[in-house]
């Protein structure tokens, strides 16, 4: 679209740019809902690959879920996995290309329900890959059903009166679970809902890629995110609700560093 307004033209002119999208994000418009955290996480991961100069050595694995089309936005070689199997697919790739950087990008239903076995065993084998786990406590793509990480009392289209632990089971803290396995080298939980949180996540995500050179095990980063559409809230309300409800149960912070459990995750900031 051509912009004719001279004032706007001046603002967006090259010399006035304060931020530029990494060329590792394609120009395709994101299919995510406005306010969703996926776009930020995509951008941060692509910025790191760009800054590390490893595009020619990086292969990503896209899951089934809202980010099934991640390969349309990420300008890197990618393979799309069947529901839950991304860690197995990544294992196959990494075992054949041990020198390359391999990561999976998965949601909570994909990673912590249907793909639990693949998650646990890839972590336990200590595959030298990175797993980025987006936890918004809901199945976004299929229309807001209960996820393994849905909080007790939280409403979804299959828990319209709130999740009842006695009937529907408890939310699964899979990140704490994989931290206990000897094959994980770095485990952390982050958010991307404030500029500070994004910077912290970026630092951790960079470590997840750098760790792959060490061949010491798997790096696992959970990103607690919102789903304003699935939660039936505005983006601002969703972020507030996430801070008040999700983060006390899923507190951000490093859980395992350099193969050692560092501390109990921090309380919400």
């Amino acid at each position: 679209m051509e912009i004719r307004n001279p004032r706007i033209q001046e603002i967006i002119s090259e010399e006035n740019l304060v931020y530029k999208k990494t060329s590792l994000m394609t120009d395709k418009a994101l299919s995510y809902c406005p306010g969703c955290g996926h776009g930020v996480v995509h951008r941060v991961i692509m910025e790191i690959i760009d800054e590390m100069g490893i595009q020619a050595d990086t292969i990503g694995v896209a899951p089934v879920g809202c980010s099934v089309l991640a390969y349309e936005f990420m300008n890197i070689d990618m393979q799309q996995a069947s529901h839950g199997r991304a860690p197995a697919v990544a294992t196959g790739i990494k075992r054949c290309w041990p020198e390359k950087y391999v990561f999976t990008y998965q949601g909570d239903g994909d990673l912590a329900a249907i793909g639990t076995a693949e998650t646990i065993h890839a972590c336990n084998r200590g595959e030298n890959i990175a797993i980025f786990f987006i936890n918004n406590g809901i199945y976004g793509m299929t229309g807001g059903q209960m996820a393994p990480t849905t909080l007790v009392g939280m409403r979804s289209s299959t828990t319209p009166y709130g999740r009842d632990a006695a009937l529907m089971g408890n939310p699964l803290k899979i990140t704490e679970l994989v931290a206990m396995l000897p094959g994980t080298y770095f485990v952390a939980r982050h958010t991307v809902h404030t500029p500070l949180a994004v910077r912290k996540f970026k630092k951790a995500a960079k470590m997840a890629f750098e760790n792959q050179k060490l061949n010491k095990g798997l790096s696992f980063i959970e990103i607690v995110s919102n789903c304003n559409s699935g939660w039936k809230m505005t983006p601002v309300q969703a972020n507030k609700w996430m801070e008040e409800n999700m983060l006390p149960f899923y507190p951000p912070g490093d859980i395992k560093m350099n193969g050692e459990i560092v501390k109990k995750a921090e309380k919400a900031e």
């Binding site: 020619a56 390969y71 300008n75 196959g92 075992r95 950087y101």
Partner: protein, 356 residues
């Protein structure tokens, strides 16, 4: 001449995998094919050729490791037996949809369900008609000897890469477990150089990114993709039909049998001919594509065809389609791990066509 050895079918398959320059094997134990991974483990293929060997947490994980590894353009394989192959079907569908080459071995056992660990041929439909969801085909090779358990590994990889499609070796508990002499082919180097056009290596500045996916939400484009797949399967039908004819030239009756049943029928042909019955055997070597033309061409001159199968009668449907009503096709079958004797097959031929 390669080295002659006495081996189990499963072992010959595993040795052939290393010799065929396979880059990675992912599997999960199941009877009656566990010798494949056991033999590989004992051989330490990571030291012999650098081949990756990994025991997965499930058949589901194993086939998805194959899917990921196949995306790197390497020669990759898995093996299992019937219940495990059922678990792999979703992954196979993804491999076919994404047009990835790989080799899969099914050492069939009896079903349905947990069934039995005894031999069977009841996964014929599953292997030849698709198996998983969606419109796809695999090239299906049916070994009838330990020699072919070895030879078809090399052939299977060639065909898988020729068509960028999964190839399945449909064996059974008899062929997998029995010992025969086998002439092993010489070591083939692992893939060091290959077609880099479509594989995931990491995007370089000189090309667009490579994406391996079976997903396309645009109906028109996805229909074109399906048409392209169908055209590929048609090419397989035109170019890859393989079969063996035994004593067919003067035959009035035909046995049609594959795998272990073909071995039994070879003896039955001799027994029947000793009684003066002119019978031959057509052994399909590829079950997809099926030797329909060969069987159809002979049909009009025949008095009857007997298919012999370790199933309720699955291949017989393809034989009937091939003869198109020109001759009566009867079935002799055993199930549940039972195996017919050559004499029993001859009796079945006599009874089916009222031969005196």
């Amino acid at each position: 001449m390669g080295k002659m050895k006495l081996m189990k079918g499963n072992e010959a398959f595993a040795e052939a995998a290393i010799r065929a320059g396979c880059d990675a094997y992912f599997g999960y134990p199941i009877t009656p094919q566990s010798e494949v991974m056991e033999y590989l483990a004992a051989q330490q293929p990571q030291l012999r050729t650098g081949m990756v060997l990994l025991q997965a947490e499930s058949e589901v994980a194993a086939i998805n490791m194959v899917y990921g590894a196949a995306g790197t353009g390497k020669r990759v394989m898995t093996s299992s037996s019937s219940p495990g192959i059922s678990l792999k079907q979703e992954g196979i569908s993804y491999l076919a949809g994404s047009q990835l080459p790989c080799l899969i071995l099914n050492v069939m056992r009896g079903g349905p369900g947990l069934g039995t660990i005894q031999p069977s041929q009841s996964d014929y439909f599953q292997a030849t008609k698709g198996g998983g969801h969606g419109d796809y085909r695999m090239i299906v090779l049916a070994p009838a000897s330990v020699q072919e358990m070895s030879d078809f590994v090399k052939l299977g990889f060639e065909l898988a890469f020729k068509y960028r499609n999964p190839v399945i070796m449909l064996s059974d508990g008899i062929i997998g477990q029995m010992m025969e002499k086998v002439e092993l082919f010489e070591q083939v180097p692992r893939l060091t150089e290959f077609d880099q056009q479509w594989v995931t290596t990491g995007k370089t500045p000189d090309r667009e990114r490579n994406v391996i996916t079976s997903l396309d939400l645009d109906p028109a484009r996805h229909e074109r993709h399906n048409l392209k797949l169908q055209a590929k399967y048609q090419k397989m039908r035109e170019n890859e039909v393989r079969f063996e004819n035994i004593d067919c030239d003067d035959a009035e009756y035909l046995f049609v049998a594959y795998g272990s049943c073909a071995r039994i029928c070879q003896k039955s042909v001799k027994l029947a001919r000793a009684k003066g019955i002119k019978v031959g055997l057509i052994r399909p070597v590829t079950l997809f594509p099926f030797p329909s033309e060969e069987i159809g061409r002979r049909a009009a001159k025949l008095k009857g065809i007997l298919t012999v199968e370790l199933s309720s009668g699955q291949m017989i449907e393809d034989v009937r389609l091939a003869v198109d009503g020109k001759v009566r096709v009867a079935l002799h079958n055993r199930m549940g791990g039972m195996v017919p004797s050559p004499e029993e097959v001859v009796d079945a031929l006599l009874k089916s066509f009222s031969i005196r």
